[in-house]
């Protein structure tokens, strides 16, 4: 293990990873137990050393042997307060009052599982398996189980935030590589680090999102020559960037296409790569002609010169990579935005070359997806997917959440029973008020969680889930080149179960042929390809394919197709996508205004003059989580909306005032932070916030959550993503103080 990881960045951090004498200390402390495990307090992946002294955790710190080099963030570290939280759910609960009334009765796991099994079987008999939806929140290591469970009972109506978070990227990368995952080469395993990096709508430095850990990225910056940050807000990163493009939210496609325009017209593109390995270059060239830097400048509120500069840097100082942020995927034009960015990578040949974008090879245990893809989606399952007829990319393997909500409201819902694990759809989907109403129209809702949040409050049965410090499980969020182990450090409180156990036990009742005698057997099964048992792996903690074991330039080998090439119909990287063409979408990228914007809806803009974006992560919160963790709450008590001082002055708002943010859907209140780093015509609100301390069932859900403002009427044609991070609003001072 150790030496594998030394392969990672060791030339910079060998001293850091010099941990033999480190562990030596603990050998001396015989009474203590040091357990190596993995954190998933975010998308996760940090290696952790947990000190346990007679049954109590007395210390947590990063594991220097792990690929995350012994670093940890405030969220992971504060897990100490999380696991002992007095509000943890301890027992299965059954609703006894009206739905959302907050009257509960403790029941046994058997009763809970019997009831759920009964309801599901009844619903399947009456309406067919597609009437059952299985939902999860963002990837938290339970993905494989939610998907396998759904498929095992014959439904593909899986509800996940994926379509506003990472999936558009994966799906569209898939059109290029066939494999769906391109990552920035922060590791330099090919002997080269990215020379030009674009951080595009990303705060990787604090979000450690979507398969990349902040520590890797920040490390690679030691080698970067040009750092380009594309963000309407100034960030810690933009402060050290070569170039910061303060773009208008929702216009990124225009920027990307203008950059391609410059690169092609100035002949800066990678001729060798374009000639031999891409398809549809000329058509793309034609398409981008309308996107001159000047034209794009008007759209994006940028300077044409900056656009040209960015284009030249990226095309000339190669290798380069683009770290795409999910803010781009929370917009109703996300499909074409991502397409544009892929084409930008394509024409600059920044694919599969060391220091560019690489599709990492999984370790010998194979892809974790195999655990559910081995149960195929049958034609009738596909027919049953809600929204599949409309959103052919987004609703191919999973349901389209907003259509599910609409149907529930209109009384023509395919979904009758909703089994939810993690995830606060009630506050994370667009138009909170509609979602609340929709949930009330369900026949049966189950929610598994660690706390009684707004989603749980609306359920009929609530199941207590375990924390990562309390479970034995295999972990892989996104970094495809490794899997890690969660090793149990303490027992879960009360009767809380780990999610994998919940699914396995329910699976055994619903579809025994697909499930296992117990969790350990299930884990062994997932590891068998790497001929390991859970026992072996749990000691190993990290099983990775890194360093020399990763090969680059896969398209020049037989890796994707015999004789080389990309796994696409044309065998080339499709700048012009034949697949999209067949699906009836525009095969070439284009820019489209957000559903609401000063230009698409000028009338509306008169009343709602400011552009609102709601995508920006807090380093100490994870979406709706952790406002009940005292240490983390202490960093920022109330949700903060960033406003430019000049704009605020006009509005008579001072730093620290509560401000109303209003859209045609409603209004919310957040604390105003006068922030000179944001565009004067843009305000940035904190997303996914409620107040755990406030009384249920809503827990202040409607007070500050920006989705009260967002609309689910206008969605991306490919993925169905609504405009969460680019809409219109007006802002005014809240006089009544709080």
């Amino acid at each position: 293990m150790a030496n594998v990881n030394h392969g990672l960045l060791f030339y910079e951090l060998s001293d850091w990873t010099n941990c033999d004498n480190y562990l030596g200390k603990y050998k001396k402390m015989s009474d203590k137990k040091i357990i190596k495990t993995t954190c998933k307090s975010c998308h996760g992946g940090c290696g952790v050393l947990v000190t346990v002294e007679n049954g109590a955790i007395t210390h947590i710190e990063g594991n220097p042997e792990a690929p995350t080099l012994g670093t940890m963030c405030s969220k992971g570290l504060s897990s100490i307060q999380h696991i002992n939280h007095p509000d943890r759910l301890l027992y299965p609960l059954k609703r006894i009052g009206e739905r959302g009334e907050g009257k509960w009765q403790r029941i046994t796991w058997d009763e809970a599982l019997d009831t759920i099994e009964g309801k599901m079987k009844e619903s399947i008999a009456k309406y067919g398996p597609s009437s059952i939806a299985v939902s999860q929140g963002t990837g938290r290591g339970y993905n494989e189980y939610t998907h396998r469970f759904a498929r095992s009972i014959g439904t593909a109506n899986i509800i996940t935030p994926g379509y506003i978070c990472h999936s558009p990227r994966l799906g569209l990368y898939g059109l290029v590589t066939g494999y769906g995952r391109l990552y920035c080469d922060y590791h330099g395993w090919g002997g080269e680090f990215p020379k030009t990096q674009i951080s595009w709508a990303k705060q990787l430095e604090i979000s450690s999102a979507d398969g990349e850990m902040a520590v890797w990225f920040l490390n690679s910056l030691k080698h970067v020559k040009n750092l380009i940050v594309i963000d309407p807000r100034e960030t810690a990163l933009s402060s050290r960037a070569t170039l910061w493009l303060q773009i208008r939210p929702g216009t990124d496609a225009a920027l990307a296409l203008a950059m391609i325009n410059v690169i092609i017209n100035e002949g800066l593109y990678d001729k060798e790569f374009v000639e031999n390995w891409t398809y549809g270059f000329d058509k793309l060239k034609e398409r981008v002609q309308e996107y001159t830097p000047e034209h794009a400048a008007e759209i994006t509120w940028l300077k044409a010169d900056d656009i040209i500069k960015a284009a030249r840097l990226f095309a000339m100082d190669t290798p380069g990579c683009i770290q795409v942020g999910s803010s781009l995927e929370r917009q109703a034009n996300c499909g074409q935005t991502i397409r544009s960015i892929i084409c930008l990578l394509g024409v600059t040949g920044n694919i599969e070359r060391p220091g560019s974008m690489v599709a990492w090879m999984p370790p010998d245990t194979g892809l974790r997806e195999d655990f559910f893809t081995e149960i195929p989606i049958t034609p009738e399952m596909r027919k049953g997917i809600v929204g599949s007829d409309e959103y052919k990319m987004g609703a191919a393997r999973t349901a389209h959440s907003d259509t599910v909500i609409k149907q529930l409201l209109n009384g023509n819902s395919v979904i009758k029973v909703w089994f939810s694990v993690g995830g606060q759809q009630i506050l994370h989907l667009a138009n909170t008020r509609e979602v609340m109403q929709a949930l009330l129209n369900l026949e049966f809702l189950v929610h598994a969680d660690q706390f009684m949040g707004p989603m749980a409050e609306h359920a009929d049965i609530v199941l207590p889930a375990a924390h990562w410090l309390e479970i034995d499980d295999i972990y892989d969020m996104h970094p495809r080149f490794m899997i890690e182990a969660h090793n149990k450090t303490v027992d879960p409180p009360g009767e809380a179960w780990q999610d994998s156990k919940i699914f396995n036990e329910l699976g055994r009742r619903m579809a025994p042929q697909y499930w296992f005698e117990n969790v350990e057997k299930m884990l062994d099964y997932q590891l068998k390809k790497g001929n390991m048992t859970w026992q072996d792996f749990s000691k190993k903690v990290v099983h990775a394919r890194i360093g020399k074991d990763q090969i680059y330039y896969k398209y020049k080998t037989d890796y994707w197709r015999k004789g080389g090439g990309f796994p696409t119909p044309t065998g080339k990287l499709e700048l012009y996508s034949t697949v999209l063409e067949d699906l009836g979408y525009d095969p070439l990228p284009y820019f489209q205004e957000p559903g609401e914007s000063p230009y698409s809806t000028p009338e509306l803009a008169k009343e709602y003059p400011l552009v609102l974006s709601t995508g920006y992560r807090q380093p100490f919160y994870f979406l709706s989580q952790y406002r009940n963790i005292p240490w983390l709450r202490s960093f920022q008590k109330d949700p903060v909306v960033q406003i430019h001082p000049v704009t605020a002055k006009e509005l008579g708002i001072e730093d620290g005032d509560w401000a109303w943010i209003e859209s045609p859907r409603g209004r919310i209140k957040q604390k105003a932070r006068l922030f000179p780093g944001i565009h004067p015509r843009v305000v940035m609100a904190t997303a996914n916030c409620f107040y755990p301390e406030e009384p249920g069932p809503l827990h202040g859900l409607l007070k500050s959550n920006p989705n009260v403002l967002t609309s689910n009427n206008h969605c991306d044609p490919m993925y169905g993503s609504p405009d969460l991070t680019a809409l219109l609003c007006k802002v005014y001072r809240a006089n009544d103080g709080k």
Binding site: M72, S74, P619, P630, D655
Partner: protein
Amino acid sequence: MVVDLSRCVRCYACVAACRIEHFLPMGMSWPRLVALDTGGDNPAVSTYSVRCNQCKEAPCVEVCPTGATQQRDDGIVWVDQDKCVGCRYCVIACPYQNRTFLSKDKDKGFFPGKALTNFEKAGKKLYTHQVGTTEKCNFCAERIDAGLAQGLRPGIDREATPACVNTCPAQALTFGDLDNPDSEVSRLIRERKGSQLHPEYGTDPSVYFIDGKIGQAGIAQVEDKLQQEPVPTGTER
């Protein structure tokens, strides 16, 4: 210690790490983040991760009437909890406001009114905090001493290095021996023009900052902030 301002990403990990390392009571925070955001010609989101500077000429040592606050030979300034009478003169006198008086209301437990968590109970045994005395960052003296005892090198081997330094994902914090001209910290200070906070106070802090970005625009920020209503000082809470 050297803080690289260009690297810090305002992630708060250092603060959290210290709270765990020292079982800090809820209202207590030894390190803090000072957030300075500027726009204009010199836009910067810059963050000063501050903690006790272990001043060579420490006012807190000078004013302490009991001698509870004292300086070790290695320069670490520490408070002998058993000697401190809680007069708070040091809290007043620290020009950097890096000291906190542990009052009862700062020690209500993680979840006031609820039972202590296992972690807190363990903490009461492993690392006691006396209500009524004053505390501050001690450069993880315990950790350093334990490390040195095993022949480890502070700033190089984790076990002899402060918790906040180890956990920083940006490697914005570098720890080492200022008296050794070859140490990493000395090199950084030399080559990247390390500067101390308020050297004019004559306190000679042992924490240096490098590669700050804020210029005149920064001053404007601070100035117009000064025009605002006064706010009570204290920890972030």
